[in-house]
């Protein structure tokens, strides 16, 4: 017999910050309470099996009006791989000019997640 586990989950889907419970029986979610929208329900169900987070950081820029380019993951990254992604991005450098939305890394570490430029950076002559 597998146990019935109650997980207290705090939703991070939006600034309202609903708190609730997810009950897992025999390895699958049997009941959820406290989440007031579908986004929150989806987040909570995923949080107990495979938590994921959006990742934002910076990448070095050469020849740009700014030395750093902010980048953002196009979708959430499995929590335990966040630092691997950061290491990958820290080792990189991109050349200006860069347009917002440009894919800086596609399919990072085979996770199926792209990292994109969060702003424009012009080049300096």
């Amino acid at each position: 017999m597998m146990a019935r586990v109650v997980h207290a989950i705090q939703c991070i889907g939006c600034p309202i910050g609903c708190g609730g419970e997810v009950i897992v029986e025999n390895g699958s979610v049997s009941e959820m309470t406290g989440f007031t929208c579908n986004k929150g329900l989806a987040y909570a169900a995923e949080e107990v099996v495979s938590p994921k987070r959006m990742v934002t950081t910076t990448v070095r820029v050469s020849g740009g009006s700014l030395g750093l380019l902010p980048v953002v993951s196009a979708s959430p990254v499995p929590k335990e791989r966040i630092f691997d992604c950061l290491r990958l991005l820290r080792g990189m450098s991109v050349a200006a000019p860069i347009a917002e939305g440009t894919i800086v890394v596609s399919d990072a570490l085979g996770l199926g997640v792209d990292f994109r430029a969060a702003r424009d950076i012009s080049s300096v002559q």
């Binding site: 600034p15 910050g17 987070r53 910076t58």
Partner: protein, 434 residues
């Protein structure tokens, strides 16, 4: 000295200044100018590289620069003039603005309407009276954010954060990402001033402890910070004897609140609200100085940029109408008061209503955290409107649209927040005006 004239000038080119300028142009102001002291538009958003902006305004989760970019594109596509690298030194009540820039020197602009959009600044150590010497390594969280995200420089390796405001929480994660060890966050109040989502994804995710009801009583180190002493406080915020302990660190970040940047207003004799630190404004966001409007963090500190953009659009539109001589005269103004449970309200004044206006949107800050609550509006001592709130937190602004028919011509207007008699499943929807 060169002289120019404009219908509407915004002082500041952050989200508030841009949204006000765009709304002013749209409302028919012919000549609109944004004056920004930085080298680019976007304001504080350019250093806020995390995501979580724009859920309301664009129904998308954007980064700070991403949100700014949407507005910068709109400004570029318009014929609004933008002066960068230009600092406003004075704005006189008659609309004469003096500014200075390295390329144009001193310049005078005559404006029919002015929108204050200078944002806010962070409280510093002096403002919170942390004792101890002044070693290097103590920064405001926002200054550290600029260093890490824009200048590529890590302000320390072992970090203690004082105050649990959102910028501090965001920086706890950011410094962790950059390889620093964040040892703890200390908050003097018994509750956090940050959003719950930031406590989860910036502290709990990385096992960073948050100590509530704790105060930093000393910062150690001669040239460079070497550590802090921390102690528990009682409900009167006094240190409890025998609870002190030391933590070693080489960097202290302060996240102890924001205050509107109102030096220009103060110099021109602008009437301020002592609690918000911003101007007293009416529903058009007109200040007590005719022709001067205010929006965004310079008026009151916002936590969501979406509300900043919305408020600035009101200010910009009103500024355009004033420039065209179409803004109705304020008439005899009524003041709006806050009672039990609330700390601030904006607007603090009501002028004569515009023709056809159905409701007025008010923004509030609660005095303390509460569970299920009722926001009440009392007109001449009679309960005229009530809205259910599932939770109330001082860190999250409360927004309510009050129907004009409920306000009527009552002379005294007061808002309160009371505990709700029963559990509330969901907030009442904000009634949007068509």
């Amino acid at each position: 000295m060169r002289e120019f004239s404009y219908d509407v000038v915004t002082i500041g080119g952050g989200p508030a200044g841009m949204a006000a300028a765009l709304a002013a142009r749209e409302a028919g102001a012919a000549r609109v100018l944004i004056i920004e002291r930085d080298r680019e538009l976007g304001g504080i958003l350019q250093q806020c590289i995390h995501n979580g902006f724009g859920l309301r305004r664009f129904e998308e989760e954007l980064t700070g620069p991403g949100y700014a970019h949407r507005y910068i594109d709109m400004v570029r596509a318009s014929d609004i003039d933008v002066w960068l690298d230009t600092t406003v030194l004075a704005a006189e009540p008659d609309g004469v603005i003096t500014s200075v820039s390295p390329h144009a020197g001193m310049t005078i602009v005559k404006a029919k309407s002015v929108v204050y959009a200078m944002g806010c600044r962070e409280r510093t150590r002096g403002a919170i009276r942390t004792p101890g010497s002044r070693p290097a390594g103590v920064f405001t969280a926002g200054a550290a954010q600029r260093m890490v995200n824009m200048e590529g420089y890590l302000p320390g390796k072992e970090v203690v954060i004082v105050g649990s405001g959102d910028i501090g929480l965001i920086m706890a994660r950011r410094m962790t990402f950059e390889g620093a060890k964040v040892k703890a966050v200390f908050e003097i109040m018994p509750y956090s001033n940050g959003l719950t989502r930031n406590i989860v994804q910036c502290l709990e995710d990385f096992g960073i402890p948050l100590y509530l009801g704790h105060s930093v009583t000393a910062i150690h180190g001669k040239d460079r910070v070497t550590g802090v002493t921390v102690a528990q406080v009682n409900d009167r915020l006094e240190v409890i004897d025998g609870t002190a302990f030391d933590i070693a660190c080489d960097c202290v970040l302060l996240s102890v609140g924001l205050i509107p940047e109102n030096e220009l207003g103060r110099a021109a004799g602008l009437a301020l609200d002592p609690i918000t630190g911003g101007a007293l404004a009416d529903q058009f966001r007109q200040t007590a100085t005719p022709g001067f409007f205010a929006a965004g963090n310079v008026l009151h500190v916002h936590d969501l940029v979406d509300w900043v953009s919305e408020e600035a659009a009101i200010a910009g539109r009103s500024a355009a109408r004033h420039a065209q001589g179409e803004l109705p005269l304020s008439g005899s103004q009524r003041s709006v008061a806050v009672g039990e449970g609330l700390r601030t309200v904006v607007p603090q004044r009501l002028s004569a209503f515009e023709q056809g206006k159905m409701s007025v949107r008010f923004y509030f800050r609660a005095a303390k955290p509460m569970g299920a609550s009722l926001l009440q509006f009392w007109a001449d001592g009679v309960l005229a409107f009530e809205r259910k709130l599932r939770v109330v937190k001082p860190s999250e602004m409360i927004v309510a649209d009050i129907p004009v028919r409920k306000i009527g011509d009552a002379a005294t207007l007061e808002f309160r927040v009371l505990p709700a008699p029963e559990k509330i499943e969901a907030d009442d929807e904000i009634e949007e005006e068509a």
